[in-house]
Symmetry: C2
Subunit: 567 residues, 2 copies
């Protein structure tokens, strides 16, 4: 295998990682990276933090942990990897096993032979069909140059209002970055909620309340039609519903896999738009590997191929490809659909399937919605976290989980992602030996609480309705009692104000059963659903037949509440 030629197209994440790994395994191979841009091996996910000013120099995104910049000289001297940057790969000749490239600045062409070829061509930003999108102060976030341009616009002053088109992961990260610079931010999102592919309705609503509390304007289910300019700079975003004055626009509508080279070379492309690879990350041509944002991945939970670009996946791909091109046999098992994101003071995350997605796949879905403190409730630093768990009623299998809140949610997502990887049950989660000490968790962790709730539902010990179902009942003015079992002070502070609501504090419930009609449906709730569940069990124990509790309590109620004195 020695002295073989390994050519890698793409120098951001998968490419350099594959090169470095291959070099460590094969000291003699001739390894070449072809990169269209000037910069190499940058942490693209750090761009929002550069725009914010948290990361001071864009070069930090290209530095090793020891502070050395990963440039051409670094790759040459340290890694013995040749880099052709500002060089575009034009075409692949699979029969001759060559790549034709051209220098961007000189039009100088070159034909590079390979034994093994790696496609790490990344993603291309989706360009929505918006009139005026090439106006000044309209920024994308696909390359460090974009981030530098956006940061320059901010620091040069004059940007007081910004509009972000797209409420996905990048959109949310940039929202925080801009707001931290004192800019009034509006978000326009085509879908009816923030992070539409990450969070279910009620979780997204919980996030939206936080984002709005930070002064951000949300325009959901709106489509941007055109951008208007003034003296070459964007000044107005026109949607199908309104006009938004703005000094800056950030396009965060996502990326698509960059498969141009692969397509022309006749490699198989999947229905997701990504290059098809097997578990060795081999394309339909066994001498060509592909990884990172240009390929599709197997979602281990759904069993389906998906396009989910993620920097962490790209790096894992790089290592597997480095192994395989250097003659070792390595596989990439797939993903579980994990995504996390910091949004102001909230930690947001999901893994596995969403509720709707699980239904579409034919699962008999059962969920739990649990707001609780992320550590011992007497520990002063405890913070609220809203957790949603999604499972299959028939098999008890865990299907997915979501978190939103100031509490430590990412830890819980990591645990759920690990359980999903092993195909675990909800009953496994409740008895995991997770780290417990008051600063880190409750003696009964929120994950155990949530999965115990699901087990109770599966076993017929708990019957719950979602806040959305309750809302629908209220709107249809159904004849039922929405039983608030909190204390009078809690009720005065915040409540669902509706004639269906009746207040009986939990401590009095056993003694005031006569006040409740046995022929009407009763739905109990409290602040977080713990006392609501208790009330439900008391009523069941007392022979009430048409009774349930509302998931998540008033904390997770995604609709209007009333505060202050009771009328």
């Amino acid at each position: 295998m020695s002295q073989q030629k390994i050519v890698i197209i793409g120098g951001v994440a998968t490419g350099p990682k594959a090169a470095a790994r291959a070099r460590r395994l094969d000291a003699d191979a001739e390894i070449t990276i072809i990169e269209r841009g000037k910069l190499l091996s940058y942490g693209g996910c750090g761009m929002p933090y550069y725009i914010e000013g948290k990361v001071k120099e864009i070069s930090e995104l290209m530095a090793t942990p020891a502070g050395v910049t990963r440039d051409i000289v670094f790759f040459d001297k340290v890694k013995n990897v040749k880099v052709l940057n500002e060089t575009l790969a034009l075409s692949i000749n699979r029969e001759a096993k060559t790549v034709e490239v051209v220098r961007v600045d000189s039009d100088e062409k070159q034909t590079i032979p390979y034994d093994k070829l790696v496609l790490a061509t990344g993603g291309l930003p989706l360009i929505p069909p918006i009139e005026g999108i090439k106006t000044g102060h309209v920024f994308r976030l696909n390359h460090p140059d974009d981030a530098v341009a956006a940061r320059e616009a901010i620091t040069s002053g004059g940007v007081k209002r910004a509009t972000i088109i797209g409420g996905g992961l990048i959109g949310m990260e940039v929202t925080e970055a801009l707001a931290a610079n004192g800019i009034a931010v509006s978000i326009v999102e085509m879908f009816p909620r923030l992070l539409p592919t990450i969070l279910d309705f009620e979780m997204s609503h919980f996030l939206a309340k936080h984002v709005q509390a930070k002064g951000v304007q949300l325009y959901m289910e709106e489509k941007v039609i055109r951008l208007e300019e003034n003296q070459g700079k964007v000044c107005k975003v026109v949607t199908n519903k309104r006009e938004i004055d703005t000094d800056m626009v950030l396009l965060a509508v996502g990326v698509r896999p960059n498969t141009n080279l692969a397509k022309v070379a006749g490699l198989a492309i999947g229905s997701t738009g990504g290059i098809i690879v097997n578990e060795y990350l081999q394309t339909s041509d066994p001498d060509i590997y592909a990884g990172g944002d240009c390929v599709e991945n197997l979602n281990l939970v759904s069993g389906q191929k998906v396009f989910v670009p993620m920097g962490s996946t790209a790096n894992k791909h790089g290592r597997v490809i480095g192994d395989n091109v250097a003659g070792r046999s390595s596989t990439f098992p797939g993903i579980t659909g994990t995504a996390v994101c910091k949004v102001f003071d909230y930690n947001v995350g999901r893994t596995g399937l969403g509720e709707e997605q699980a239904r579409q796949l034919g699962y008999d879905v059962v969920t739990a919605l649990v707001p609780s403190s992320d550590c011992a409730h007497y520990y002063p630093d405890n913070k609220l976290l809203l957790v949603k768990i999604i499972a299959d009623r028939k098999t008890g299998k865990l299907l997915g989980g979501q978190v939103v809140g100031a509490g430590d949610g990412v830890k819980r997502i990591d645990v759920l992602a690990t359980v999903l990887r092993f195909g675990g049950q909800v009953s496994d989660v409740g008895t995991l030996d997770l780290g417990y000490a008051p600063p880190y968790a409750s003696a009964i962790d929120i994950l155990a609480h949530a999965t115990n709730t699901i087990e109770n539902k599966i076993n017929g010990l708990a019957k719950a309705v979602t806040p959305m179902e309750v809302k629908a009942k209220l709107e249809r003015n159904e004849d039922f009692i929405l039983l608030d079992v909190r204390g009078p002070n809690e009720y005065a502070a915040i409540r669902i104000e509706n004639s269906h609501v009746k207040l009986i504090p939990l401590g009095q419930l056993r003694f005031r059963l006569a006040e409740l009609p046995r022929d009407k449906e009763i739905i109990a709730f409290c602040k977080i659903s713990l006392r609501g569940y208790e009330a439900y069990r008391i009523l069941v124990g007392a022979g009430f037949e048409n009774v349930s509790f509302m998931d998540g309590g008033i904390v997770a109620w995604p609709y209007e509440t009333v505060s202050g004195n009771v009328k």
Copy 2:
């Protein structure tokens, strides 16, 4: 099953949890809790934080998340559970199925019949054979009353120096609590290191440096012989090596299972000293269940029975027992040996087996020692975390993990505990789809980094020596080169000063190979072992045969270093 009598002995964690669960499942059962103390259902793990003053009122440890105190009235009204507190269980008559109890304050005896009996008798503090241990200002931490007494001593003034006997979990938590009150703390520990049952040598040493930097005096491998008093209060701790002036002593030497009742009743007791229970948490008498700190647990990694008291386990036990006494069939699978602890600014944790323990069980142990930032190294809030992973070379099975550092280590312990639960391999860890965004993790998470290192070692791609092995070589003055591949500025800032050390920065290594002898052993290292590994691969690639790298780099070097100008 209805109207059956469930009697529970112990009202702290397992007991109340079992009672509440049983009540929700069986509305008619007669449920009685017998508790020797006055207080019920308290979060004993919160006591260090009450002593610190972070938790303001001791009653907060007995409150529900909604702020209601879990007292007799609460259990009666809300849970319909009868509580006999300040009542001691004297004996169990298994044939008659009765428990004889006595009121602590009146000597009034009573015989209580049961259908199902639950032993949740907890642990008893170990009382070391120290002369003068009953002196004033010598505190234990077994009951909220102990915490109240200790807090009173602190707030009344006059406590300037405190000595903690025992450097285990409670000892470490109390250390922080006392230091936060401006008290000069000394720790005396019989074993040669802090947290001896939790952390391996090099991990414990990393923690010790932090604790010492906070001004704490550590006296390891010392045994307390006696306490001396002045006017009824402790004034001196006399060990086998020194005398320590002190104003207060905290005994934190651990607990043993309280099995007195069980023993007399003839129930089977394990070699760990805990009550033997099966997976249903049933004792050798099928009508008697036991859980919490009085039973032994199955360690799922070692397959051995262990005594590991833990509040989280006690609560899980309670739920399983509640199910089983109410006629549902539930099992507790066992533990993986997880423990976490906050020590000043450091997060500390472990799960699974330690290195020594794994060796004793006959595993062919392979480890990785990786210091790295806990999130993207360019993200301003990143913090250092030292991770150790322990695996079986033969099967690639994960055996355990440990973390120490300011970085988010508990999250990583939770992931490893989950992998251990499913019997996973180290290779599984590296490809887990963990949450990635710059505030939470690196694109290649520290766990992947550590498990990839182990895989490289197993596959013969990486040969490493531990810092302990290097130290031994230096002390034997073996003829080898300890190759520091960091930059000259890093070397000037902190280094291992020894004639065996040679400095060649990684970027120059490929061009200065001639300076290195091919007949001598070479051990490369850097700050965190990343460049050290790279250097090792370069030397292997260049045909050097007797070469390796030092695990963990200088960051994890548990011995003396030198700072400042090079001589």
